[in-house]
Amino acid sequence: MSQSETESSEEDLRYEAYIQRFTHCEPDLRRFIRSLLPTCSDADEVMQQTAIVAWRKFEQYDLETNFMKWACVIARFEALAYRRKMARDRLVFREDVFDLMADEGEEEIETRRGEHSALEECLAAMPDKQRNFITLAYTPGIKVKEMAEEAGSSAAAFYMRLKRLRHQLMGCVEGKISEANQIS
């Protein structure tokens, strides 16, 4: 076996190890990034950048340590760089707020996972009609405002309905989490 072949198979293995870890923590990472930036597409962009940078630096990563934590540091840095580029845009957090949210967010990855599964249960328990409404309102590319405007005279009611459903879902998530906390 030639030198270069060995290298390439080592590279393959390393890549596999990386993909496996990255894929595993991708949802958590994306959620973390999303909490720091104003929109879903901002999070997409930073997520992509994070994946590239993490791969470039993967050599420096100690396989025995927590990959999630390691990747979080990169994600946070990338999000911050992105934030600086975007700072003049609407609804971009100030740096002091960003830092606080990132510090605390890093510690709450597990909590977030719990919330996500609670939400799935809550959604499943929701009447179809309400679930369809909320899913529709959250479909990428759909703006509530446009939906509401299309809806003409009942725009306000439309908005209220989405808010009520969201509050209802939050209430349900809260309830499930506090239930779980009592049990454990």
Partner: protein
């Protein structure tokens, strides 16, 4: 149902959060929200939870509940059925909304929507709740609203009447208690309840299943009742074909009525034995009631305009295409007519009647000039607030806010406020860059849950009694004494604006734009302090048409 779980959040903090998630937060509020976030770890925590749930909802699409596609609809042609289903659902949804609002029951309309359904599968449904009349729902059901789409599901109504329009064009009126299984745009099953079907030619062939009887409509109107396992059918018009259990299929014509037992043969019976629900009748009644109450109010108004204390009374009926709104106070004085600028004529508090102006656009306003000096002022208006976007949201504001001029508005936290300039030449005792005046607030009378609701608002400046009072829907919500040094005995209006502020004295744009994001149906200004009972009476006389 649990709501507003974070009771520790103030309405404003909650509102910031919601607006942030919707991308609708104003720059000022965003600053305020971030200040709060820096200050409160709890608020940050709540924020993260909200963002997390919001993110989960954003990520739904791949495994979305929209995949619940009715069995008979096949998803094969498309590379990405879910995305297309979503797109179709959206298109569909709008179609449905438009259709239900037009009240369009033409079969053409239905056919148009239905053709979309066959092109792109959709979980959004095949029918729509087009009317509800005193409808009540079982406790375990979340209930329906007019305009809700219906898919394959069991429609349960505890009491009252509902009208369901199928996209095939068939129209079903249901009286509760009832249980209807909706199968498709062409098929339903009545398990319990009273049903009237109206089936236009386009929907001929609509199938209604009842107990052991299958009814196929051949372009007609018929009633079906299922109570305690007993069925009965009656044909009002046209003909239907029924097949009861294993019996021969038979045609029933206009006037025919049959009892359909669970076991045993279908038996002919007298027609008119059951009183079937009729949505058309309900609609007509509702419409008549609306017209009556509006006509009644117009008659009342004809009396009210004769009150010689009335300075101005602007109603915005038929304002379409007009730039002038007459002052209806008698004797008429065209000099005091208002000029409509950018404000749009919209539906007022009587549905289907354009009797209001909307001040949603920042430049919208109605300019007026009301000369004279007055010993008191009462402002009264029917208002529908959609949201309080500005720090101050205008109802009626005197242009320059000069001595004796009033400002009637609503603050962003929902407090109704009335103020009068006391001495513009003197600095304000507390904030030096302001002038000497005083604001009289009500407690918050509005929050976002009241968005879109019509309210009757009244505020009174009464120098004789030294009182400023605020009223909502004819009831007093606050009364405050005017301190001696702030008492103004000579009040003026002159140039002023409804729904905005004309000539602000400060350059700061956040102060300058005060347009009301909402509608006004009418506004009256009296040169007197109306009494509590008078205000209650006027409200009672005008409320009949409230929606």
């Amino acid at each position: 149902m649990r709501q507003d779980q974070f009771s520790q959040l103030s309405p404003k903090e909650q509102e910031w959060l919601d607006s942030y998630l919707d991308g609708e937060l104003s720059p000022e509020d965003f600053e305020a929200m971030q200040d709060k976030m820096v200050e409160s770890a709890e608020y940050r925590k709540i924020m993260r939870r909200y963002l997390s749930v919001d993110h989960s909802l954003e990520m739904l699409e791949g495994d979305s509940p929209l995949e619940v596609v009715p069995e008979e609809q096949v998803v094969t042609k498309f590379p990405s059925p879910v995305r297309l289903a979503v797109a179709a659902a959206v298109a569909f949804f709008f179609g449905v909304l438009v259709m239900s609002w037009r009240g369009d029951d033409q079969p053409e309309g239905a056919a148009e929507v239905e053709s979309q359904e066959t092109v792109s599968p959709s979980a959004e449904g095949f029918a729509v709740v087009s009317g509800l009349f005193g409808a009540e729902w079982n406790e375990d059901s979340s209930g329906y609203m007019e305009g809700d789409t219906l898919g394959p599901e069991v429609f349960r109504l505890a009491s009252g009447t509902a009208e369901i329009k199928f996209f095939s064009g068939a129209n079903m009126t249901v009286e509760g208690p009832s249980e209807i299984l909706l199968k498709s745009a062409w098929e339903a099953e009545c398990r319990d309840g009273l049903v009237r079907m109206q089936v236009p030619p386009a929907a001929r062939g609509f199938k209604l299943q009842a107990l052991s009887t299958e009814i196929i409509d051949l372009g007609t109107e018929f009633g079906l009742s299922v109570r305690d396992g007993k069925g009965q059918v009656e044909v009002f018009d046209g003909e239907i074909s029924i097949r009861h259990q294993d019996e021969e299929r038979q045609l029933l014509e206009k006037g025919a009525a049959f009892i359909l037992p669970e076991d045993g043969l279908a038996i002919a019976t007298e027609k008119g034995g059951v009183s079937y629900p009729d949505a058309t009748k309900f609609k007509k009644m509702a419409e008549e009631e609306r017209l009556n109450s509006r006509e009644a109010w117009q008659a009342e108004r004809a009396e009210l305009v004769k009150d010689d204390r009335l300075l101005a009374y602007y109603c915005f009926e038929n304002a379409d295409g007009l730039s002038l709104v007459p002052n209806l106070a008698e004797p008429r004085n065209p000099e005091t007519d208002g000029a409509i600028i950018l404000a749009e004529p919209v539906t007022g508090r009587w549905s289907g009647v354009q009797s209001a102006l909307e001040f949603r656009r920042p430049g919208s306003r109605v300019r007026v000039n009301i000369p004279g000096e007055f010993g008191a002022l009462t402002f009264m208006s029917w208002v529908r607030i959609d949201s309080l976007d500005r720090q101050y949201n205008a109802l009626f504001l005197g242009d320059g806010y000069e001595n004796g001029e009033p400002h009637w508005q609503i603050r962003e936290d929902g407090k109704l406020m009335l103020s009068v300039m006391v001495d513009e030449g003197r600095p304000h005792p507390v904030s030096k860059d302001r002038r000497f005046h005083r604001l009289y607030y009500s407690p918050p009378i509005w929050d976002l849950s009241m968005s879109g609701q019509w309210l009757h608002l009244t505020s009174v400046y009464d120098p004789d009694q030294r009182l400023v009072s605020h009223f909502v829907d004819g009831e007093m919500v606050s009364r405050e004494e005017i301190p001696d040094e702030y008492l103004v005995k000579t009040l003026r209006i002159g140039n002023g604006e409804i729904g905005n502020w004309g000539e602000p004295f400060r350059e700061d744009p956040s102060w300058a734009i005060r347009n009301l994001n909402g509608r006004m149906d009418e506004i009256a200004i009296y040169k007197d302090a109306l009494s509590k009972s008078e205000i209650a009476e006027i409200f009672a006389r005008s409320r009949s048409g409230r929606r």
